[in-house]
Each structure stands twice: as structure tokens, then as C-alpha cells.
């Protein structure tokens, strides 16, 4: 039945490269009249690039976009708008200090005798809002409404430009449950009117709540287009992550690396939480154990680690380190208790770009010792050389700025920074992202080796295979909540995906 629907837009064989990366190769997307279409894929799968190509933000190299039977090329978002393609971005980009009506008509105000026709603006705006069954006063200032309502206004503005295709790029990430419901109502209403909606989100629940079809991308490739009711959750997760699992690459030393669940606890969290990022959770990490945190992007895996480390101050619950209660207010206190933390975003939170490799490496140990106990030049150099050698950092010398190194080598420097502080508990958040395969394996081996020497490691990664290779135990997160744990014996690709997907579908 739904197959009878008219195709509004199709993108065929789209390819696009950025320097050094093939962002899209032969990607495709087909939108039909009156359907909500989810665009899914893990980080770096090419979702945002595909959308940027569609809306004229980026140019594509090969392929074509066909709308209503005609081939079109959008040189700019404005041109895309004229072709009937509107976009609402994650961050609302409206003017909060103007009225709702002004925001809806900004840039295309109806004129009357050389003046802006305010009466018409207010009347028409109110009509559009009423049509969408939104209880919003068009003459009120936009900033007086919640983010959710502002998002609706953005949608109202987008659909009023007679959009045939509406793209919603992660519109729900800052909304609460009630607000999401409201958004879904509006989406369904537009669907009935025949608008084709592209819905980009990381929340599986929402995909199954409103979407008719799902297109999955992986590493810039088109994986498939599915009807929502024909694709169970587990399968969707598996499709998004890719199923190739290399059993032979199991680098864990099975003999020496059995369960360490019986070792003494290093970290014990009871009901720890941070509002809006991670709901209360219990977690115990034992000596010499590698614990993995798994979940889709935005599931709260990084946030859980940040709360333990004090990068985000916990707002409630208890944390015990080696049996001792710790009220961590700032990372330095966690460091003093033997924790170390490699953040996910290496560029924004890891490296100090202009400082040298040496300074970047010694700085955590220096901070731990205190401002007045400057490490001698000799000690700094010896330690730096030691870790450059141990981690095989490729750098001209220890005094070049870290920004001149490649991503993988920067990551090694950050690892060296923390190993230098001789931690008991090391948190690695996506330590292998954007790193070549060889270095990836080196880092995984290092993690297993460190655990063998008695260090406890928390390993967070989007790649399930990599985690299965390195971890002894795994925590599963979904939608900001820890929903379960997997013992070593239960660790398999299938179990992990099932756990990540959750639900009974």
C-alpha cells in the first residue's frame, strides 16, 4: 500500500570526499510523499554529510538528486529552500529577541506601500501556528517560550515556505518526553498533509514511535532501506554497526586474563548521578579489570565516566575509591586518588595545541605534584623520552608543538600523560577514534597489558568488536541510563547488540 506513494525526492549514487576521507560513496536516499523517514548510522556514517549535500551546504562530486522527476543541484540552502527542501537544525537558529511572527516571516516580510505589513504578518503567523494546532501567541517574544516551542516555531517557519521535504536534524536532543510527544504530533500532522520528513536521531525508541521507513548508512556507504515494522531493533543496531566480527583477532590472553570479578573493588559507585546527563547508577570496578561501557551515541556512556572522574560534578549518590568515600568536586581530587581520564574529544578536551609534546605529557603529573614543585628539566625530559619510546610516538623531537602530530600520535601523547601519573584506574573514552588500524591494535594491546599489571581500566568505544577484544566485563547504557551488565561469559556481539537495543522488538 505505502509502496504506491509517489516518490518526492531521490538521491542516487552520491559521492563526496573531504581531504583524506571519503565521506560518502554511492549513498542514496529515497523519500516518498507523506512519510517519515529515519536516517540512521553511527558517528561518521555520513548522515550529516548527506544532509548537507541535499541542502546545498556542501557540493557533491558524483551522483544526482531528482526531485519531482527533475534533476536539481542546490548551490545553497536558500536555493534548496526554493526547491521545497527545508531544514530544522539541532540548535534552534532563530532570533530569541524578536516575536514569534517576526521569526516566521523574517527575510520574506510582506510589504504594503513600502512598509512592512505588520498586521498581515501577525495574522498569517497566527494562522500557520493554529494550523499546526500549536497554542502559541504570534506576537509574543520568542525567548519567552521553551526550547521545545522554539523548535516548533522553527518547524512552522520551515513548513510555511511550502516545503515538500522537511529535514529534522536531531531535533529531540534537548527536549523532554512531553515535548517530544508534542513534536511527534506536529510531525504526524505534516505527514498527513503529504510532506516527506527526514528524521535524524540517535534515539531508537523515537524511530520506532514515528518513522515509516529507515535508511541506514555506514562508513559513507548505503547499507539498506527498510520498512520500520520489518526491521527489529537488534537488527537495526547490527546493521548500523556492521556485523563483520573477527574472532581470530581476539587479543585477550585467555589463560592469564580470566574474570577479575573476585579481586578487591577499586571503584564503587552507588546511585551516582548528574541531572540531564546520567541517571543514578551502581557500578563496581575491580582491580586489574577492563570494564567496557557500551551504548549508542548519547546513551550516557561518556557521561557515566565523567561523573566518576568528577569532570561533571556528581549531584547525588556515593562514590568509594579503594573503600574510601570520595566527594569529588574537581578532577584534581579524583587524580589524587589515582584516577586518570582520556576524554572523548581529543582536540577540545585533550591536547594543549600550542604546547610541546614534552609539556603536554608532563603536565598532569606536574598538576598532581602542585604548582610549587616544578619538575626538573632533566626529569621532564627523561620521563617524556621514556614514554615516547614505550608508546612509539612518531615525533621529530619532544619539543615540537603537539598540534603538528597526527591524531594517533596525539592520542599516544595523551596516554603517556596519564600513564606517567601511575594511575590505579584509567578511563579511556574513545581512545581509538580517528586512528589508523595499526595504532588501534597497539592501544588495545596496551590496555590488556596494563590490566594484566593490575591497573583497572574503563574502556568506552563505539566499536563493539574492539570492546569484545579488550574488556572483561561490560556495562550497557541506553538513553542516559545504565540498563545492565554483561559478565565475561556473556560477551558476544549478539548479546551486546541485544542489550544495547533493548525493548522486545
Amino acid at each position: 500500500m505505502s509502496d504506491e506513494k509517489k516518490t518526492v525526492l531521490s538521491m542516487k549514487n552520491i559521492s563526496k570526499s573531504f581531504p583524506g576521507v571519503k565521506a560518502l560513496s554511492d549513498a542514496q536516499l529515497t523519500l516518498r510523499e507523506g512519510e517519515i523517514h529515519a536516517l540512521m548510522g553511527e558517528n561518521g556514517a555520513g548522515k550529516s554529510t548527506l544532509i548537507k549535500v541535499l541542502t546545498g551546504v556542501e557540493e557533491f562530486e558524483t551522483g544526482e538528486i531528482i526531485m519531482d522527476g527533475k534533476s536539481i543541484v542546490n548551490g545553497s540552502p536558500q536555493e534548496a529552500g526554493m526547491n521545497g527542501i527545508s531544514t530544522v537544525y539541532q540548535e534552534v537558529n532563530l532570533c530569541p529577541n524578536l516575536t514569534v511572527a517576526e521569526n516566521i516571516f523574517i527575510g520574506r516580510e510582506p510589504m504594503k506601500m513600502g512598509h512592512i505589513d505588520w498586521k498581515t504578518i501577525n495574522r498569517e503567523a497566527q494562522k500557520i501556528l493554529d494550523n499546526l494546532k500549536l497554542e502559541i501567541d504570534a506576537t509574543e517574544l520568542l525567548e519567552n517560550y521553551s526550547v521545545a516551542i522554539q523548535q516548533m516555531v522553527a518547524i512552522a517557519r520551515a513548513v510555511d515556505t511550502q516545503a515538500k521535504v522537511l529535514i529534522l536534524d536531531e531535533p529531540t536532543s534537548s527536549l523532554d518526553e512531553g515535548e517530544v510527544e508534542k513534536l511527534f504530533e506536529v510531525m504526524n500532522m505534516l505527514k498527513k498533509r503529504g510532506t516527506a520528513i527526514v528524521f535524524v536521531t540517535h534515539f531508537l525508541e523515537q524511530v520506532y514511535a514515528v518513522c515509516d521507513r529507515i535508511t541506514v548508512l555506514r562508513n559513507g556507504h548505503f547499507v539498506g532501506e527498510y520498512k520500520t515494522e520489518e526491521l527489529p531493533r537488534v537488527k537495526l543496531v547490527a546493521t548500523m554497526m556492521g556485523k563483520e566480527f573477527d574472532d581470530l583477532a581476539d587479543i585477550k590472553n585467555k589463560a592469564g586474563n580470566g574474570s577479575r570479578r573476585n579481586n578487591e573493588a577499586v571503584i564503587e559507585a552507588k546511585g551516582l548521578y548528574h541531572k540531564g546527563s546520567i541517571k543514578p547508577f551502581d557500578l563496581t570496578i575491580h582491580k586489574g579489570e577492563v570494564i567496557g561501557l557500551s551504548g549508542l551515541l548519547g546513551s550516557g556512556r561518556s557521561e557515566l565516566a565523567r561523573v566518576i572522574y568528577g569532570a561533571d560534578k556528581p549531584e547525588g549518590g556515593e562514590l568509594y575509591v579503594n573503600g574510601e568515600k570520595l566527594h569529588v568536586k574537581a578532577p584534581i581530587e579524583a587524580m589524587q586518588k589515582g584516577m586518570a581520564y582520556c576524554p572523548e574529544d581529543r582536540k577540545a578536551e585533550g591536547i594543549i595545541a600550542d604546547l610541546s609534546v614534552r609539556e603536554n605529557m608532563i603536565i598532569a603529573l606536574q598538576a598532581k605534584r602542585g604548582m610549587f614543585k616544578l619538575m626538573s628539566k632533566k626529569e621532564q625530559e627523561e620521563l617524556t623520552d621514556k614514554y615516547i619510546e614505550m608508546l612509539q610516538v612518531k615525533t621529530a623531537n619532544r619539543e615540537v608543538p603537539i598540534k603538528t602530530l597526527s591524531g594517533g600520535n596525539q592520542q599516544k601523547v595523551i596516554l603517556g600523560r596519564w600513564l606517567m601519573t601511575d594511575p590505579d584506574f584509567l578511563i579511556l573514552d574513545e581512545p581509538t577514534r580517528g586512528i589508523d588500524v595499526g595504532t588501534k591494535t597497539e592501544i588495545q594491546k596496551l590496555v590488556v597489558k596494563l590490566a594484566g599489571e593490575g591497573m583497572s581500566v574503563m574502556f568506552i568505544s563505539s566499536e563493539v568488536e574492539e570492546m569484545l577484544r579488550t574488556v572483561n566485563h561490560m556495562g550497557i547504557l541506553r538513553d542516559g541510563k545504565k540498563v545492565g551488565e554483561l559478565e565475561e561469559s556473556e560477551l558476544s556481539q549478539e548479546n551486546v547488540m541485544k542489550a544495547i537495543a533493548g525493548g522486545d522488538k
Binding site: 574537581a330 584534581i332 581520564y341 577540545a348 604546547l355
Partner: protein, 347 residues
């Protein structure tokens, strides 16, 4: 060739070249420029005068460098802080024939006020996350008002002669006291920066405060401290300026000096975007600015025209140091080298 390249890429190379050019111009114009003589037991000469007059600016530039490095912002209230600190000290000492209180206490009180000013600025910038320019604008306007309030809107004169020691000469010492104070400040601050991890911390926070927090630095406190230090430097400069004229004129002490201090930091090759810095560069920058003023006065440029000529020279210096200009020069050199090579082949 390699050595030359190393020299030209050194941070202090271009600031020094600029200073050298200004001095060279003077030497050509009047060969007596470099003459230093001893008169009445003290040193005299253009050079001594330049160094002496740039003392306050050097001290201000030291504090300003720290603020710029840690917060990528400038403290524009230093001029007003100078007046306020000077005003407090003079007020406490009184205008009678003897001091109302021990002079050391009065000076310490003035310096304390300047530190409090700096801490207030630091609080606004580090804790309240107000843009440094806006945060320090408060004291920029209010500071002089407070100084006026203390002095009752009058110019207060100190009659006790030894008040002039700080801005003039100490008995039996031929070097002007401001020069000595400036040297002491620069030496103490650089010792502190380099013998402790402070320089590393300040640079790290200036480049990436988020990352710095994650490896255990208290980014807010470090920014706060640099502003407090900047306030103290302004206080010291204020004492010298007040002592020079043995009086406090709340309207004119340190007037517009914040701009010269920022300029000194920039002329010293320091990026106003924060991060890595060189104290030496800022000191050279401060001396360059003063040398420029002295030169222009020697050329009979009147005080009211001075800013125009100064601006022209500053434009030239800043352009010479800009990365765009260096890129342009490199391309030009490469083109010439290619052309020369081509001609060689042809002949």
C-alpha cells in the same frame, strides 16, 4: 644560514629589531643620543631617560602579559588602578610637614587596594565569565571616581621631600629608582614563573581551559591570580607615578596607560589570543613605545600631535610582525630565489 633562520624565528627577534630601528634612527639624527654622563652624582642621557620613563609601562606590561596569556583578554582598568592606589597612599600620608603614618604602611595599603582591584576583575572574568574588556570596564570608569572621592576632587601634594625617592633618586645611588623597581619586578616575576610551574599552568589555561581542568588545573583560580597580579603591578606603577610628581592627580595619573600597556604586550610579539607568552617581549615592547615618544619629542613634535605620529610608527611595526606580512615576504623571497636560479641556468 641555519643559524640565521633560527635567529629570525626566535620570538624576541622582531621586537628587538623594531627597538633597534628606533634607536638607530636617533643615532643618525643626533650622535649624542647614546651619550651617558654623570651629573651631580646621577646618570644623565637620552637612554637613561627612556629607560626611566618606561619603568611604569614595563611594570604594567608585565601584569598585562599575564592577563592576556591566561584569559585572552585585556585589563583596561590598570590606569585607573594606578590613580586609586596612589590616591590611597597619599591620602593616608597626609599633606602636612610630616607623614601621618609610617610611609611603608601607607604604600602597603595602596598596594593592597590595587590587589583587591585586581581580584575583583579576576572574580568577574574567571568566576562570572564576563568578557575581560567589559569586566574591567567597570573599574576603568569607577576607579578614577573612587580616587576622586578619596582626594576630595583636589590635587594633593606631599611636602615631605623623601616621598620623591621612589620616582626620583635614592641618596648615593646614580640610577633612577624607577629603573631599579622595574628590574626587580621583572626579575622576581620571571623567577616565579620559571622556578615554579606557573608559566606552564598559565599557558595551558590560556590555550585550553577545558582540557586544563581535566588534568587537574584549577583554571578559574589561575585566571583569577593573573588578574590579581596585574592589579598589584598597576599599584606599583601607580606609586612610582605618584612619587615622580610628589602629588596625586586622580584625573591624570596613569591616564590612557592601559592602552600603551596592551600595545607593549602586542609589540613584544605576544598573541592577544592568549597562550604562550614572553615576558621579555613585553618589556622590549614597553621600552620601544617610550623610545618612540622620546624620539618624537626630540624631533620637536608637540604633545598634542604625538599620538598621530606614534600611531603611524605602531602601524608599521605591527604590520612587520604580522603573520600575513611574513607569509608575503616568504613568498616574495621564494619567487626571487626561483628567478635567480632561472637566470643562473640561462647564463
Amino acid at each position: 644560514m641555519d643559524k640565521l633562520k633560527k635567529l629570525t624565528t626566535c620570538r624576541l627577534f622582531w621586537p628587538l629589531v623594531c627597538l633597534f630601528l628606533v634607536l638607530l634612527f636617533n643615532f643618525i639624527k643626533s650622535p649624542s643620543f647614546f651619550k651617558i654622563s654623570v651629573n651631580n652624582g646621577v646618570l644623565y642621557g637620552y637612554l637613561v631617560d627612556i629607560f626611566n620613563r618606561s619603568s611604569e609601562l614595563i611594570i604594567l606590561a608585565v601584569g598585562m602579559t599575564l592577563c592576556v596569556a591566561s584569559s585572552a583578554g585585556t585589563d583596561i582598568s590598570v590606569g585607573a588602578t594606578m590613580a586609586l592606589a596612589g590616591g590611597v597612599s597619599v591620602y593616608l600620608l597626609g599633606t602636612g610637614n610630616t607623614y601621618n603614618m609610617p610611609w611603608i604602611l601607607a604604600i602597603l595599603a595602596g598596594l593592597l587596594v590595587s590587589i583587591v582591584c585586581g581580584m575583583w576583575n579576576g572574580f568577574l572574568v574567571a568566576k562570572m565569565k564576563i568578557q575581560p574588556m567589559v569586566a574591567t570596564l567597570i573599574l576603568f570608569t569607577a576607579g578614577r571616581g573612587m580616587a576622586q572621592l578619596i582626594t576630595g576632587g583636589n590635587i594633593l601634594y606631599i611636602k615631605v621631600p623623601n616621598f620623591k625617592y621612589l620616582g626620583g633618586f635614592l641618596p648615593h645611588i646614580p640610577v633612577p629608582t624607577p629603573i631599579l623597581v622595574a628590574i626587580i619586578v621583572v626579575v622576581l616575576v620571571s623567577l616565579f614563573l620559571n622556578r615554579t610551574a606557573t608559566k606552564l599552568y598559565v599557558e595551558s589555561v590560556g590555550i585550553n581551559p577545558k582540557a586544563s581542568r581535566l588534568f587537574g588545573l584549577n583554571s578559574n583560580r589561575i585566571i583569577w591570580l593573573t588578574y590579581a597580579a596585574c592589579g598589584l603591578c598597576a599599584g606599583i606603577a601607580g606609586m612610582i607615578a605618584t612619587s615622580r610628581i610628589s602629588s596625586i592627580d586622580a584625573n591624570n595619573v596613569g591616564n590612557l596607560m592601559e592602552l600603551d600597556a596592551i600595545l607593549a604586550v602586542a609589540l613584544g610579539g605576544n598573541s592577544l589570543a592568549g597562550g604562550k607568552f614572553s615576558l621579555g617581549g613585553s618589556v622590549i615592547g614597553a621600552i620601544t613605545i617610550q623610545a618612540l615618544s622620546t624620539t618624537l619629542y626630540a624631533l620637536k613634535v608637540t604633545g598634542d600631535q604625538l599620538p598621530l605620529y606614534k600611531a603611524i610608527v605602531v602601524i608599521i611595526i605591527v604590520t612587520l610582525q604580522s603573520p600575513e606580512f611574513k607569509k608575503f615576504m616568504n613568498r616574495y623571497k621564494a619567487k626571487r630565489a626561483a628567478k635567480a636560479a632561472g637566470e643562473k641556468v640561462a647564463s
